[in-house]
């Protein structure tokens, strides 16, 4: 595949964005993206992730002092048409007055690539994105999934240094989204282009990202691999935004959290006067009543096939979510013991 390995390394230096009406969309942020890496900007709407993407694309100018560098070259004042970035929009933004093939080949046509060469490249991308047979269709004749593929093929056709994807799967229904997510993942790995992917969907971020930038209210909350942000969140926001989390507020005494259902040992070397702890539901073991460090009452059981989600009250100040094996026989009203390994408890700084 000719489009492989055209990645550029990206460096964002102190890029903030304040809009003309005075709204601060992005606090000055610094970020390094390695050549060929897939970086996901993840956060709820209004967290500044799209603004960050548009600054990298060249659709927004950062506030004074901010710099965008591609492979060490300052691109801050270079307009998007000369940055060689491939972009996929949430609405796909396919040209309605052109066929599928013309859409994919548009960037090459603008670059003056001869017709025959262009056609060969379009054919290659059509095959790669699984839309063979649709080349001469008009855009309004395509389904959502097909449009998404055309948008991706069009962005990749120009052999961009950086591929920018703005919520590319959000407009699709859930089943299609899951399928295309896997397909997109394979494609991004095969292409090896530096990719920046914006989404509010943490499952997408986990599957696609080499690293995830979790954003909140215009600031970066944490940067890390999917494992890092999942297992060692640095604050309550990240803990709750990524995956399911039990947030426990309890006083710490002699290396144990003191909770209504018992004392939870987490180790002696803890010096933090912490009062917030995070425990993932799947790290809590259900054991017989009287065993384990905590005891509680099962409020409800939802059986989902591969596992069952229990809500246990009385153990903590708030009911705990517990993901238990589907083999355990337990019903609402049962008294159970809970066993939690010390390393499964993550202490978090108290937030104002």
């Amino acid at each position: 595949m000719s489009a492989v390995g055209h990645g550029a390394a990206v460096r964002i230096k102190a890029c903030g964005k304040t809009f003309a009406d005075g709204t601060r969309a992005l606090d000055p942020a610094t970020l390094d993206i390695a050549r060929g890496e897939t970086l996901v900007l993840l956060g709820p709407s209004g967290c500044g992730k799209t603004t960050m993407l548009r600054i990298i694309a060249g659709l927004e100018l950062p506030d004074a002092g901010g710099k965008v560098l591609f492979d060490g070259k300052d691109m801050t004042s270079v307009p998007i048409e000369r940055r060689n970035v491939g972009m996929v929009f949430q609405s796909y933004a396919l040209f309605p007055n052109m066929t599928v093939a013309d859409n994919i080949g548009y960037g090459l046509k603008i670059r003056g690539v001869p017709k025959a060469e262009r056609a060969a490249c379009v054919a290659e991308l059509v095959a790669l994105t699984n839309i063979t047979g649709l080349e001469n269709r008009r855009i309004e004749q395509l389904s959502g999934g097909q449009r998404q593929r055309v948008a991706l093929a069009r962005a990749v056709a120009i052999r961009p240094g950086i591929l920018l994807l703005d919520e590319p799967l959000t407009a699709l229904d859930a089943a299609l989204r899951d399928r295309l997510r896997g397909e997109l993942n394979r494609l991004l790995r095969a292409l090896g282009i530096t990719t920046i992917y914006v989404t509010h969907d943490q499952a997408e971020a986990m599957e696609l990202g080499d690293r995830i930038v979790v954003m909140r209210k215009g600031a970066i909350a944490q940067i890390g691999t999917p494992r890092e942000v999942y297992f060692t969140p640095q604050n309550r926001f990240v803990a709750e935004f990524i995956g399911a989390a039990n947030i426990i507020e309890a006083p710490l005494q002699n290396g144990s959290l003191v909770m209504p259902g018992g004392q939870l040992r987490i180790g002696d070397d803890v010096t933090m006067p912490a009062t917030i702890a995070m425990i993932r539901p799947e790290t809590i073991q259900v054991v017989d009543a009287g065993q384990g460090s905590l005891s509680g009452l099962v409020d409800s059981v939802s059986f989902t096939g591969d596992r069952q989600r229990l809500v246990v009250s009385g153990a903590s100040s708030r009911p705990l979510n517990v993901d238990a094996s589907n083999a355990i026989r337990v019903k609402a009203g049962d008294r159970v013991g809970l066993s939690i390994a010390p390393e499964a408890v993550r202490l978090l700084p108290l937030e104002s």
């Binding site: 998007i80 048409e81 060689n84 933004a93 007055n97 548009y106 960037g107 603008i110 309004e140």
Partner: protein
């Protein structure tokens, strides 16, 4: 009373109005056109008679030129006004659309004030070159007048269409390397095609049939509405003026239909 009867009753006023003010006079007009000394052949005279034919061609060319120039001016202005926010913007829009309220006579009067014998342009050119430039009473004056009242009509339609444009399309084209010119050519103008056809049709039809301005300025211009007027009032040539009226309607309709089908591909493409 059944539901259906009720519906028919509701349609009655429409039927009456259509009959009284449209179908009957039109039918009468068509008949009168064939009642001259030449009979049905009176219609052919519109095209055969050199004076009528020249007037007809004049009128179509004038209307076409007005439409094209209006579209160019209004598209640029409309796009700018819709995309930019600046102090005085709403005042400017109000000023640009103000001529909508003027009758043709007033527009003609303004053209005379600008380019007539005592006009501003004549005054200035007299002082600078020692020669008085006067074009209010020529086809150029008429063209300027038509432009003046066509632009507001078109500008509003274009502004509405520009507002509905997906900015993402332009950003996508730019990300693919398209220069500002290429974005306009490949993305913006095709997307505005339906608005061009709709507002261009109005500009063309208005310019074909405008009378007030022509009447105010007309000393030596022959346009179709003026010709109809002179045939009717001065020559009392009822048949010819009726035939010319029918011809004016038909030709305008025909050209608009052609324009619509010609741009059909573009309209569907932008849909």
């Amino acid at each position: 009373m059944s539901h259906r009867t009720f519906l028919w009753l509701c349609l009655l006023p429409l039927a009456v109005v259509t009959m009284a003010f449209f179908l009957l006079p039109m039918a009468r007009l068509v008949i009168v056109g064939a009642e001259g000394p030449q009979g049905i052949a009176g219609y052919l005279a519109i095209l055969a008679e050199p004076r009528y034919r020249a007037t007809l061609i004049n009128t179509v060319l004038l209307a076409a030129a007005t439409t094209i120039v209006t579209l160019i001016v209004a598209t640029i202005a409309g796009m700018f006004l819709q995309r930019h926010r600046f102090p005085g913007r709403s005042v400017l829009i109000a000023m640009l659309t103000f001529p909508l309220a003027f009758p043709g006579v007033v527009v003609g009067f303004m053209i005379i004030l600008l380019a007539g014998r005592q006009g501003l342009i004549g005054d200035v050119s007299n002082r600078v070159f020692g020669e008085k430039i006067v074009f209010a009473y020529s086809i150029y004056g008429l063209f300027l007048g038509y432009l003046y009242f066509s632009i507001p009509r078109v500008i509003l339609t274009i502004m509405a269409a520009v507002q509905k444009l997906d900015v993402g399309l332009e950003e996508a084209a730019r990300s693919l390397g398209a220069s500002p010119w290429a974005v306009q050519r490949d993305v913006v103008l095709p997307a505005l095609a339906p608005a061009f056809v709709a507002s261009g049709a109005i500009a063309f039809a208005t310019a074909m049939g405008a009378f007030g301005t022509a009447f105010t300025l007309a000393t030596n211009i022959d346009v179709l509405p003026m010709l109809i007027y002179t045939e009717f009032t001065l020559a009392a040539n009822f048949a010819t003026s009726a035939a010319l009226s029918v011809g004016l309607g038909l030709i305008t309709w025909l050209i608009l239909a052609l324009a619509r089908s010609f741009s059909g591909g573009a309209v569907a493409a932008a849909g």
